[in-house]
Amino acid sequence: MGIKQLAKLLADEAPECIKEVPLKSLQGRKIAIDASMSIYQFMIAVRQGGSNNPAAMLTNADGEPTSHVQGFFTRTIRYMSEGIKPVYVFDGKPPNIKSGELVKRREKREKAEKELAAAKEAGNIEEQDKQAKRLVRAGTKENNDCKKLLELMGIPVVNAPCEAEAEASALCKNGEVWAVGTEDMDALTFGCPVLLRKMTFAKSGKENIQQMNYKKAIEGLNLTHDQFVDLCILLGCDYCDSIKGIGPKKALAFIREYGCIEKILENLDRKKFTVPDDWVPNEKKAKEAEEKEEAEYDTDEEKEKTGKPKSDADEEDTEEEVVPIYVKARKLFNEHEVITNLDLKWKECQVEALTKYLVDEMGFNPDRVKSNIEKLQKAQKANTKPQSRMDSFFKPLPSKAGAKKPAKATVGSKRKANDTKGKKGAFFKKR
């Protein structure tokens, strides 16, 4: 999932784009949340079980899992109580070229299944637990459960035409929401202005939320958006393999030196780094072509043709295109299928229907459902006349252009010697 090592690379190379903020500071914000990721998180985390039994998912009377519904219900209420307005974005169909990644995931599942069987035989509970978690799958039913719950709660749901992160990022770029809440670093590659991570309250809300700022990230890395996308592809995304032997440091250095993947490939020492075949399909084709005496394809010419919709094209051997896979990935990041200008509405919750759904169908404790619904109603009432924020009236003063940027110190820590660059009047200009 996501972009390999991007978070770490950003922390090292562009630390100013990452901020830890208290949950409170998100008050009044609209946030698009990657629902698919949340479902997985809940199905893995919300479990019960003793020390002698492998932890099991919560289930209703029919034995269907309900962990995800429980998780969505309580977490959404938590968001609402903090004055946050969540929008949940569900995945649509996966893009065609993700199939490689999906096959890999399937293989992992099969492996886990085998190991689970082995662990059961050996009676190793810890191992059983671990493998059972790997087997968790969010299918259509789970998605629909959550959608139904959210609808009854009056929370807007967006069905992404394709990937949820892309859709959420588009909403964010379009100003319809303030930030995207996901763990997936992909969102930054999609150009989402503000990314929020760790919105899980795993540690009873004491943990701060990690806020990442796209603009500061590419400024900090000193890259353009296109270069940033290429960097992410080199690091390793869901859509294609990456070049073996290129780690985060090298990827960044190459992008800085050559500017784009095409140039890197031209200058790359192929003996040292193995480039996957589908990155350079033309070379392979060219070889075959020689044998078959077919017309040669020119890389550049072919690239210009990428305008045609090739996501529909069959990915199998019959493919006629010779567009390198990284170009397809790049296109996915830049021109993902999304819908915008949605009418996002937060409505009142339907108490009766919601109670019925949770108590009768999901088998939740009626008392707890009641008290949670009361919390939800209270939060919704408070949000009918929402508190506005200071920054919607007063804009930050232009910063001192990085004149002073010592490592962030935490409360009570020692102040770093302030370098003397702060010219007179440079701080806090008085109006």
């Binding site: 508190q387 007063f394 009570g412 820590s413």
Partner: protein
Amino acid sequence: MFEARLTQGKIFKQLIEALKDLVQDANIDCSEDELSIQAMDSSHVSLVQVNLQAGGFDHFRCDRTISLGFNSTNMSKILKCAGNDDVITLKAEDTADALTLMFESPGQDRIADFELKLMDIDAEPLGIPDTEYQCTIRMPSGEFQRIIRDLQVLGDTCVISCTKEGVRFSVSGDLGTGNVLLRNNAAEKEEDQVIIEMEEPVELTFALRYLNFFTKATSLGGSVILSMSPEVPVVVEYPIEEFGHIKYYLAPKIDDDA
């Protein structure tokens, strides 16, 4: 080098008390001619702004602009060690990682000094434009404090509306409703006066919780000035005589546009 000596040390004590409940960390920004603080609460709903003119101190020296980041709770703890009549002196080197606070008793027979560790605060100062407000209301600060305290009994949201009739503070909650109306009042003593200047009527809704935090500044001055215009933050200003002011800005609650 920064050094500021204040005979009426109480003022600085009261200032820190007036903001410690609202903001956790803040910068004291010192320049040649003033000492200022600007900070927001953690929800970014309100903002406090303090200005003290250099002329108001007995002695004020600031060689170069300097920001002193402090934790308000810790600062308050240290200031608790100062008597109300003490003379307070603040001192910091240009690259210091601590602020020295010296407390001298009026008879000069007891001198205490404390050092508060400073920190780097990642603050984004906001530019606050000078604007004309549609309504300005000057009233005794004690009266304002009482109104806010009384209304809090009934609810957590208060509507302040300023009309020809006067200024009305209203609240409604589960218990019931409450209204306090103040009219223009030209009392003899300036501090008791209620003076309302109004171009157009204004009505705004605010969270009482924050207004209550603001009234912690009541002891700093006899009067408070509220300035309001439609759909912008209210300004609650406590002037500190011949010295400066502490101003609070609070974003209103606005009907949902979505």
